[in-house]
Symmetry: C2
Subunit: 240 residues, 2 copies
C-alpha cells in the first residue's frame, strides 16, 4: 500500500463542492498528468474544453439532465475525441472509421482518469458527467466543436463538501476471468445483490431498496440514447 493506491481505492464521486477555487498551478499539474497518459499509436486525438463561463455551465447542467454540480464545481471540463486537428494537418486523412471512435473514447477516458487521480491526490474531488451525451448536438453547438470532434463526457472538479460512502463494486471474481471468459457465478451475484441492497438501505443520503440486478434491469429496459449513432455519423464518426 502506498499513497497512490490509497487515493485510487478511496475514490468516490463528489457532487457537492465548497466555494474554494482550485489554484492555477494545481490545475496545470492536473492537466499535465492527463496529457501524460498513453496515446494509441501516438495519434493524440483528445481535446479538453475547459468551461468556466456561468451561462455555458448553466446550459451544460441542463443538457446533462439537470445536474447542478456542473454549475457549482470549481472547474468543469468536457473531454472530446478530436480528429479535426488531424484533418487540418492532413486534409486527405482517412476518417470516419468506427475504429477511430474506439480510439477516441479509450484515449479520452485515460486522459480524464489521470486528471481525476491527480486531483484526488491533491485532496480535490470530482464526478464524471456522462449525461452530456443526453444532448450531444446542443453540447457540440455550445462548445463550437467542428466536424470530427465529439463530446464524450464532462468532469466536475472542486473541493469536496461531502464524503459519501464508497459504493461496493462487483466482486473481482465476476469481473476478472482467468484465461477465458467464465460464466456468471449466480451465487456470487446473489451475495453482491444483497450487499448492494444493504448499502443503499443504510447510506445516509438517497436511500433506496434495490439490488444491482434490479438497477441493471431497470436501466437496460430503456433504450440507450438511440440518437447516438446518427449524431456520431453527423460529426464524421462511425461512417465505415
Amino acid at each position: 500500500m502506498n499513497s497512490t493506491i490509497e487515493t485510487l481505492l478511496s475514490h468516490r464521486s463528489i457532487r457537492s463542492f465548497t466555494e474554494q477555487s482550485i489554484l492555477p498551478e494545481q490545475l496545470d499539474t492536473i492537466l499535465d498528468c492527463g496529457l501524460a497518459a498513453s496515446s494509441s499509436s501516438f495519434i493524440q486525438c483528445v481535446s479538453i474544453v475547459h468551461v468556466q463561463d456561468k451561462e455555458s455551465r448553466a446550459k451544460l447542467a441542463q443538457y446533462a439532465g439537470g445536474q447542478p454540480y456542473v454549475e457549482s464545481c470549481a472547474e468543469f471540463f468536457v473531454f472530446c475525441a478530436d480528429f479535426h486537428r488531424h484533418q487540418e494537418i492532413h486534409p486527405q486523412a482517412q476518417l470516419g472509421f468506427t475504429e477511430q471512435t474506439l480510439i477516441g473514447a479509450v484515449d479520452a477516458a485515460m486522459v480524464a482518469q489521470n486528471c481525476l487521480t491527480a486531483a484526488e491526490s491533491l485532496g480535490l474531488g470530482g464526478v464524471y458527467i456522462g449525461g452530456l451525451r443526453n444532448n450531444p448536438q446542443p453540447v457540440t453547438d455550445l462548445l463550437a466543436l467542428p466536424k470530427h470532434v465529439i463530446p464524450l463526457f464532462g468532469l466536475c472538479l472542486g473541493h469536496p463538501a461531502q464524503t459519501p460512502e464508497i459504493k461496493p463494486r462487483l466482486p473481482k471474481s465476476i469481473v476478472v476471468h482467468q484465461e477465458t471468459y467464465q460464466a456468471l457465478d449466480k451465487e456470487v451475484l446473489t451475495r453482491y445483490d444483497a450487499h448492494i441492497q444493504a448499502y443503499y438501505a443504510t447510506r445516509t443520503d438517497n436511500k433506496k431498496a434495490a439490488s444491482w440486478s434490479d438497477q441493471i434491469t431497470q436501466t437496460l429496459s430503456k433504450e440507450a440514447r438511440p440518437f447516438m449513432q446518427e449524431f456520431l455519423q453527423r460529426q464524421g464518426f462511425n461512417i465505415k
Copy 2:
C-alpha cells in the same frame, strides 16, 4: 507535487521486462484499484481476461501484429466491454446501442488506467496493446468471449528492464481549449513538430526522422481497421 503526481508524470510505456514475477498481493491490489474507477450509471460493463497460458500469449502476441512483450511480460490482461452478464440477469435487456459501445470503451479505459497507475506506483511498468484490434475475431474466439462482449485492448505488466525517455506530448495550449473549441495554432504545432523530430533523432532506441505531423499523415493515409464496424455488429454492438 506528491508521489501520485510524480508517478503519473513519469509514465512511459514499458516493452521490455525482467523475469521477475508480480506478487499475488500486488496483483490483487492493482485489480482492486482498477475496479474502484467510476462506472457510468453504475452499469459495470467491464470484464478483464487475465491470460497467463503460454500458448494463448503467443497467439495474442501474433494477433497484435507481432508484439513479443505480450509473451514476455509477467501478467497480461485483455480489457473488454461486457454486456453479456447484463443479458444473463435481464434476458430482455435492450442492447446493441452505439451508446453502449461508448460506455464500454470509456469505462474499460478508466479501469485499465487505474490498474496501470497502481502498477507504476509499485515500481512496475506496462504498455497497452491496442494491436489486439487488428484481429478482434481471433481474440474473441481464443478468449471464448460470448456475444455482447468485445475485446478493446490488452495491458502488459511486469518489472521494467528499460527506462525509455518520456515522449513529449502535444502542448496543453493545443489540447486544452478555453470555453469553446479553438482553431489549431500552427506556430505552436510547428514548434512541437521540431521538438518531436529532435526527440526521435536523439533517443537511444528506434531513432527516426519524423515530426508528429509526418507521423499523423502517414498513419491516417491508411484505412483504420475497416472491419471494426462489422465485427462490433456481429458481437451485438453498434446495431442501432
